[in-house]
């Protein structure tokens, strides 16, 4: 077994330039070392254990392999155990909070949580995630400006974005004309009983706040109540029938739903398969959310940081974005995408232009942890 590469060595070799990374000697130096356990310290682990959502990384449809992960292994000698095990922020959090609250690791080096949930802030406040080693992430300079300073982690000490998505309104053209506002979604008699909203309060309440002329980035009890009263009224009148995860797709396609609050990434595939479906950001503005990578307690900081640096190379970010259809947080990804898939590069749902970005808002992350808000929102959901 060869000695694992130390962080210093990695930095020195990285300084020699990207070409050095492919030298066979380099591969020999870092291949096969360690046992991939809870490697603390400065050394790269043999295996990176990465927990993510399903269908959220590039896959070669023919070989069923994941090209960007293979490339990472080829360059660094670190194999990747990739787990598609996150289907729901709350559910995944419930699964990992037991060991983390006892200071134990969860056999993962990276996991992903969405900033439209309370969990990113909670993980940092409780000390259940580790600081990134930014020395190993020079490519952090490629992080887009809009993501540089989220309220839950203003200095980006603990987290880096994986992908972002937008929340807007989708509609089925066979049943309705364009649905361009919350007002229309809630009041158009043609849509009655055929409207759904998303279960995440940041998505649904955020859109309604924008329609109310309130700022979802600065939530007060007053603006919150104003928004959920409006949602409750729409539920009581029978206009809004359901609250969904991404299971809005089937009923919207089949016509049980005429319009719904929906995520951009899910819609891209649907739009391609069903020309009758449309998606847009409402005229009063839409929401943007971001999935963030974290290093949980027990995870190998150098290994995870090295991987994060890798995915912040624009060509790598472009390859992932081309497959997953979500918004990459990496500057220069569009230029790289233009080379491999101009159609995707020019799709504003994947690379939003400045005009679209100006209409997108983030939800107040402090308000996400407000127990009273959560409880009121669940009352709206009937729970």
């Amino acid at each position: 077994m060869t000695r694992p590469l130390t962080r210093r060595q990695l930095l020195e070799r990285a300084a020699l330039g990207g070409a050095a990374l492919t030298l066979p000697g380099f591969l020999a130096a870092c291949g096969g070392g360690g046992d991939g356990g809870d490697a603390g310290g400065d050394e790269l682990a043999a295996v990176l254990r990465f927990a993510n959502w399903p269908l959220y990384i590039d896959i070669d449809e023919e070989t069923k392999k994941r090209p960007t992960l293979d490339e990472f292994t080829r360059r660094t000698g670190v194999a990747v155990d990739y787990f598609e095990e996150i289907n729901d922020n709350a559910e995944y959090f419930a699964k990992v909070q037991g060991p983390l609250s006892q200071g134990r690791g969860i056999d993962r080096d990276i996991f992903v949580f969405t900033d439209n949930s309370r969990f990113p802030g909670l993980l940092i406040d409780e000390g259940w995630v580790q600081k990134l080693d930014k020395e190993l992430i020079p490519n952090i300079s490629n992080l887009i400006e809009a993501q540089a300073s989220p309220p839950f982690d203003p200095e980006r000490e603990y987290s880096l974005p994986w992908q972002s998505g937008m929340t807007g309104i989708a509609w089925n053209e066979e049943l309705t004309g364009p649905v361009t506002s919350i007002e229309q979604l809630f009041e158009d008699a043609k849509l009655k009983g055929k409207v759904s909203m998303l279960m995440e309060q940041a998505d649904s309440v955020g859109l309604v706040m924008l329609a109310n002329g309130d700022d979802p980035a600065e939530v007060s009890d007053e603006t919150y109540d104003r928004a959920i009263d409006r949602v409750q009224a729409a539920v009581d009148s029978g206009q809004v029938v359901r609250f969904t995860g991404n299971d809005f797709a089937q009923p919207l396609t089949q016509g049980e739903l005429a319009a719904c609050v929906a995520w951009s990434g899910d819609m891209i595939q649907l739009l391609a398969d069903n020309p009758k479906l449309k998606w847009g950001v409402p005229k009063d503005g839409g929401m943007i959310w971001t999935d963030n990578m974290f290093i949980p307690t027990g995870g190998s900081v150098p290994t995870a940081s090295t991987y994060m640096n890798y995915v912040y190379e624009p060509p790598v970010a472009a390859k992932i974005a081309a497959y997953v259809n979500y918004v990459p947080p990496v500057q220069g990804a569009k230029e790289e995408l233009l080379k491999i898939d101009p159609e995707i590069a020019n799709n504003t749902l994947i690379i939003p232009d400045d005009e679209l970005l100006a209409q997108l808002h983030q939800y107040d992350s402090a308000a996400l942890a407000n127990d009273e808000h959560i409880s009121k929102w669940q009352t709206v959901l009937g729970q």
Partner: protein, 285 residues
């Protein structure tokens, strides 16, 4: 070992019971005790402290009595409908299907080869607006052109009924199948009409199956949340949905735990009332 058992013969039954008791202790009593401990805690996640917080229970009941009542209502309807559908079906299988019995039983169990979630999701297609059921009902003018079945109380109750139907059918089948046909012949010989023979012989003899089926259907149905989540709206949420949301979304473990206890206690009370009504010897067959 043999000698040991011989010398301590009185220990034998306890030794035989030991694995079962250990299993119950580890997988039922310990989690139950932990749930009880959690239900009396207060504070905010993850720093809950044990404070004998009995208010969790009173608040749980007063805040969620609507969903509790709804759970029992839906479970009750699903149980009765299952019984009414299952009885004639398994009666026919037990007495008339002859050599095809096992095949028909397989048909009843077959949906269980598919996971619960997928079975429930299938109802999204069955009850879809473009689907066969809504199409037929609209054709018969039982549903208006803009009315549907999905996301209604009917859809949720139908889903629950469907999902727990085999738990009703199988115990019923077992008790019907065991009935000695000669007893029915005797009833006929004694000039009992078919209806009278059924009421005096078949029905009482199948009572243990009815009781077992009712319990096996009602208890899990009352705690179900998948059907309400997938086929219902906020107006059909059951107590299981509330418990799930309290655990996962609110991270309010004490309230979730006390609601679980309230549900268990309510089921236990319903069970005792039922046992009283039908006679406790029938509960054990």
């Amino acid at each position: 070992m043999g000698n040991f058992l011989h010398r301590h013969r009185r220990l034998t039954p306890y030794l035989l019971l030991a694995p079962g008791v250990a299993w119950l202790a580890v997988f039922f009593l310990v989690p139950l005790a932990f749930l009880g401990y959690q239900s009396l805690q207060s504070g905010t996640f993850p720093n809950y402290e044990f404070t004998w917080e009995f208010a969790n229970f009173t608040e749980a009941i007063s805040d969620y009595r609507e969903q509790l009542f709804r759970s029992f209502l839906y479970a009750g309807i699903a149980t009765v409908v299952s019984l009414l559908l299952a009885y004639p079906l398994v009666y026919w299988i037990a007495f008339r299907a002859g050599p095809w019995r096992n095949l028909f039983l397989l048909f009843i169990v077959a949906p269980f080869f598919v996971t619960y979630l997928i079975r429930t999701l299938a109802w999204l297609n069955i009850l879809a607006d473009e689907g066969p059921v809504v199409g037929a009902l609209r054709g018969l003018h039982l549903l208006g052109p803009n009315e549907g079945l999905l996301y209604t109380t009917l859809a949720v109750v139908a889903g629950i009924t469907y999902n727990f139907f085999p738990f009703m059918a199988l115990p019923l089948y077992v008790s019907l199948e065991q009935i000695d046909a000669r007893l029915l012949e005797a009833a006929k010989d004694l000039y009992a009409s078919p209806v009278r023979a059924f009421l005096k012989v078949t029905l009482p003899l199948s009572a243990p199956g009815i009781v077992a089926g009712t319990l096996l259907t009602f208890i899990p149905a009352a705690g179900d949340f998948i059907n309400a989540e997938l086929l219902g709206t906020p107006k059909q949420q059951m107590i299981g949905n509330v418990i799930q949301a309290k655990f996962l979304e609110s991270l309010d473990y004490p309230t979730a735990a006390s609601l679980s206890f309230v549900l268990m206690a309510a089921i236990l009370v319903a069970l005792l009332v039922y046992a009283r009504a039908v006679g406790s010897e029938r509960l054990t067959g």
